[in-house]
């Protein structure tokens, strides 16, 4: 059988090569000082902003959503004719596929550094962001993630690492205390997908539940590509949990939920932000109804109306999860560059650190670590195939979603306007977002 083994090694190598082959043509680095003789074509400066997310495997739908957010921000910036250092700024999107894989992530990060991009929005997954940010830190290029929620991302003293979403040590306690207060479970089972994100949020949930005197069963683990959860769920069923928390993404969470119901598991299912999408109702079918989940930020439908309309117009679809946050991420980079009047990372970084910016997701300021100050967490439930916000948790305080929208209304009318009319149209369902066809 030696032949087979040799063949498999070859196959693996071939697959790896195929994976690396998808390169986007890097935009040509234009000579910055182009002959400024003619007065009509003003000198331009090309600014490269990268978006990195899994675009081919694992969660490509979320990856594309993140990329769309960045693309929209850059297109708007180009249309508005920003001048930096007296030159017309031309923002170019460099989109890379990290395949949701830490190994590919670092390769891509190095490639972006070598291509001398001016700023990075990404990565999508915490497990990929953590090693990749080391490379950006060495190169001194600012990186803003709009979706990596693991605390570790900003805990290593990197000056160039920022995020526009909340952290799992805010999100985990939020969903766990909501679960403990509202479903009052006696025994909770916790499952994760053995990634930095999944295990990280699962640990936070476990800590909070234990502090609330809820019995937590020994942790079960799958992987980020598991489709067969039956063995684990069967084992759990024998221990009769009142609730099951899963730390992982929607494409694995969907089958988990569906198979759990098939096995007759009656527990309440609760998920973190990775599995808090409308996609869950497709992946799990009717089994998805009533699931609880959290997002480390305000819901996409509560984002700025201008952003929502522009997104819908440009991509002919609604934002899925974190595109408002990557959109803000890209805009923050641009705003800092404008303030510093330079696209040089070393020059605009200080501006980014002390920025105060009104974005599509509200006011953004960073603390010393690069985390967003006073980030909101949202608790959702699945209702009629759509995730519907239930409550907002901010600085440990839980507010019902409707009250949050009302409270936000006088302060920032533009933000609250899109959210307000919908609940009136459907009286008994606090559904926010009905995509207009």
């Amino acid at each position: 059988m030696n032949n087979h083994k040799a063949a498999w090694t070859l196959a693996a190598a071939a697959l790896a090569l195929a994976g690396c082959g998808e390169e986007k043509p890097a935009p040509k680095a234009q000579a910055k000082a182009e002959a400024p003789a003619a007065p009509a074509p003003a000198p331009t400066i090309e600014i490269k902003i990268a978006s990195v997310a899994p675009l081919t495997v694992k969660t490509p739908h979320l990856g594309k959503d993140n990329e769309n957010g960045v693309r929209l921000a850059l297109d708007e910036a180009n249309a508005s004719g920003i001048k930096i250092d007296g030159k017309d700024a031309k923002f170019v999107l460099v989109s890379e596929d990290d395949q949701g894989d830490p190994k590919v992530g670092t390769t891509v990060a190095q490639k972006l550094v070598d291509a001398k991009v001016n700023g990075i929005v990404g990565h999508l997954n915490s497990g990929v962001t953590i090693p990749a940010s080391v490379i950006y830190n060495q190169a001194g290029i600012p990186m803003i993630t709009g979706s990596a929620t693991n605390p570790e991302v900003t805990e290593r003293g990197f000056k160039v690492t920022f995020r526009t979403v909340g952290r799992d040590d805010q999100q985990g306690p939020a969903i766990a205390s909501y679960l403990a207060a509202n479903t009052k479970p006696k025994v909770v089972a916790i499952v994760d997908d053995a990634t930095a994100y999944g295990a990280g949020i699962a640990n936070e949930v476990e800590k909070t539940l234990k502090a609330a005197n809820v019995k937590v069963l020994p942790r079960e683990k799958g992987t980020d590509s598991t489709t067969d959860w039956k063995a684990i769920l069967t084992k759990l069923r024998g221990r009769k949990p009142d609730a099951v928390f899963y730390g992982g993404m929607d494409q694995t969470g969907g089958p988990l939920l569906k198979q759990g119901r098939e096995l007759g598991l009656k527990a309440v299912f609760a998920f973190g932000d990775g599995a808090c999408t409308d996609e869950m109702s497709k992946l799990a079918g009717p089994a998805a109804e009533g699931l609880l989940c959290s997002q480390a930020g305000i819901p996409p439908q509560a984002a700025d109306k201008k952003f929502l309309d522009a997104y819908k117009k440009k991509f002919n679809t609604d934002p899925i999860l974190y595109s408002p946050f990557t959109y803000d991420g890209a805009n923050l980079l641009i705003a800092a560059m404008k303030k510093a009047n330079s696209a040089d990372p070393a020059k605009y970084l200080p501006e980014l650190q002390k920025i105060s910016y009104q974005g599509a997701t509200g006011k953004i300021e960073f603390d010393d670590k690069g985390d967003r100050k006073d980030a909101e967490m949202t608790i959702f439930t699945m209702k009629d195939g759509k995730i519907t916000p239930l409550a907002i948790v901010k600085s440990g305080k839980t507010t019902a979603y409707d009250d949050f929208v009302k409270a936000a209304a006088p302060a920032a009318p533009a933000t609250a306007a899109p959210a307000a009319p919908a609940p009136e149209a459907k009286k008994d369902e606090p559904k926010k977002e009905e995509p207009k066809k």
Binding site: M1, N3, H4, A6, A7, L10, A11, A14, L15, A18, L55, T56, V57, T59, P60, H61, A194, P218, R219, E220, K221, G222, T223, T226, T227, D228, K230, A231, I232, T234, K235, R237, G238, Q251, G254, P255, K258, Q259, R261, E262, L263, G264, E279, K282, L283, A284, G285, P286
Partner: protein, 328 residues
Amino acid sequence: MDTFLQQLVNGLTAGSVYAIVALGYTMVYGIIQLINFAHGEVVMIGAMVAFSVIGALAGSGLPPIAVLFIATLCAIPACIAVGYAMERLAYRPLRRAPRLAPLITAIGVSIVLQHLALLVWTRNVLAYPQIVATKNYALFGATITNVQLGIIAVCVAMMAGLAMLVYRTRLGIAMRATAQNQQVAALMGIDVNRVIAATFVIGAALAAVAGVLYSTYYGVAQYTMGSLLGLKAFSAAVLGGIGNVPGAMLGGLLLGLVEALGAGYIGDFTDLCAYPWIGEALGERCANGGQFILAGSEYQDVFAFIVLILVLVFRPSGLLGERVGDRA
């Protein structure tokens, strides 16, 4: 006890799907000693074609079973076309070449099929339409769903049908003769090329059904789904004795059971706290029902390959295989 029984039910369902995929590997190997590594991709194509058909028929008002049946009927010819084309274009020209050449070609075919599927069905994890409403039945404390029953029934029927074909029909006799000695079979008036093509076609048809069953069961499909499934089915075929038809059936079922029980109980067996003196030595970690698990259920996918390695080390010809392992 009901947990154990439930794991058996789970394992049996997954195992019967592995078995019909494994049949595709074993039949091709039996007849031309080629490991057709692209077979997993044929399963994926079957699942994907059925996905599109189900999507197209979703609003037609037909009963769900009929939709699934029509989808499978569309997937079978598609897979047969892929299987036949694969044999005709990629393997037949290399039949007299050194054995490594068609093996590499098989890997190439597998990559080509994957990327074709990526172009047609996108890179997304497709949510397989849940058209059959799941019903649960109690079985001595375990739960078995109508989908699981259907999968097991279809697989058993297909295995029985294949056994009939191989052992009771003229084509079956021709296949077995070709497997024993191609030249002599040709001298006896058997059209060897036709028999080999028929083998691929039958394997592909089985794969199409397996693809539909697998995706209906787990509710997801993706263009990469064929590679792991294919590898597991290949392990099942080796476990049963590659080239041996009853062996592949037995191997598939056993592998399904090993996986389900393995994933269900590995945590308990590798929990150091369960062993008296180690538990005491660990002290606080094990107090109040604490656990210290070395390897948990995330190692589920590893079992197939542990089985593969053990079989290759201790019984290279597999459980039911008679041939000595000099063929590959």
